[in-house]
Symmetry: C2
Amino acid sequence: MIKDYENIKVIGFDADDTLWVNETYFREAEVKFGKLLSEYETLNRIDQELFKKEIGNLPLYGYGVKAFVLSMVECALELSNYNVSTKTIEAIMNIGKEMLNKPVELLDGVEDVLKKLSQNYRLILATKGDLLDQERKLENSGLTSYFHHIEVLSYKREVNYSKLLNHLDINPSEFLMIGNSLKSDVLPLVNIKAHAIHVPFHTTWAHEQVSEKEKNGKTYKTLNSISELLKLLD
Amino acid sequence: MIKDYENIKVIGFDADDTLWVNETYFREAEVKFGKLLSEYETLNRIDQELFKKEIGNLPLYGYGVKAFVLSMVECALELSNYNVSTKTIEAIMNIGKEMLNKPVELLDGVEDVLKKLSQNYRLILATKGDLLDQERKLENSGLTSYFHHIEVLSYKREVNYSKLLNHLDINPSEFLMIGNSLKSDVLPLVNIKAHAIHVPFHTTWAHEQVSEKEKNGKTYKTLNSISELLKLLD
């Protein structure tokens, strides 16, 4: 094991796009939404307006599929100048229901990594989605037994992680976070002197992207695949 | 202190309608929703259909304001036979936004009780609402400092409480739950041999009501006001 990680007691795993596919489904949903409203606007404008709506609603609605659906409906009303049909509203609601009913598609190597690491570490799932939806996915994933519990954070900012460490009764140096989002899973941890490892997913939501400036001077490791964790920690 | 409670280490408080007003706002929202759809159906039918819709969507959407708004929109589409106007859809969405922006109205005696009990017990907030919304309310309530953390449960069933106790690393006999819902805050605890005290609120959502049969043979204490806790525990 690399010396940096010898104090680690608890490992937090992000869920969406770290353990299983998620962002892909949001992108698919956006394509469907664009088609439903294509008589009113260009796809590009629809994409931009939906993104603005999501960001505007974030403080009130938070993350997750339900928030996304509410933003889509609002966006459809406004983009169509209130001319959208009620059947289209229903179709938008159904996009959300389909997303919530998707089977869970594990990323490569995930189960093997969790199985091995759970023998030596306390593993927790640290996510900012909807609790119910994340519990459903965890249950369908067959990974439940590897995790001590699910920790749902309203935001993944430094203050939220500090509260989490306080709640776990551990020091920052004893915590390692693994995730696909630099903004949510890596940089806040580095800033509070905990450990973090970045495992990128091929698609990143615009809101989760960080500038070179934000990354500047921050030390964290990036792996190509979650399986490489075993070499670092075993 | 009464002998029953001498082992208690952690006290869990339900949030909505135990610490602050909540159900009242849902009832107000239902009245507004009924008025918006009054051209299509009787108020009584609208109430019944909305309730059915909420229960039907519970496994997919869970609890909280966002789930409630999605159910209202769906209900409006169906009850109006898709004739509802897009302005009415927007008005329904705005009911949700108003709910999420409501100031927090503490129930009598709450702050005093938490202040005193937090000196001798670890207090946690155990709720099944939306994490973001509950965090907002907790922050606005001024009660944050009395709680060790917020525990959001997707459901408040025996299995969820058992997991919570496991996560807290305590025995059932060391946990006391306080809440207004017999179904969610009291009976599941009694069934797993933990402690529970019922502090009723004047309004209970139909889904939270329990039959005499379910209560039969269960031992729990009911208080008229949360302030009476101090006599039992101090």
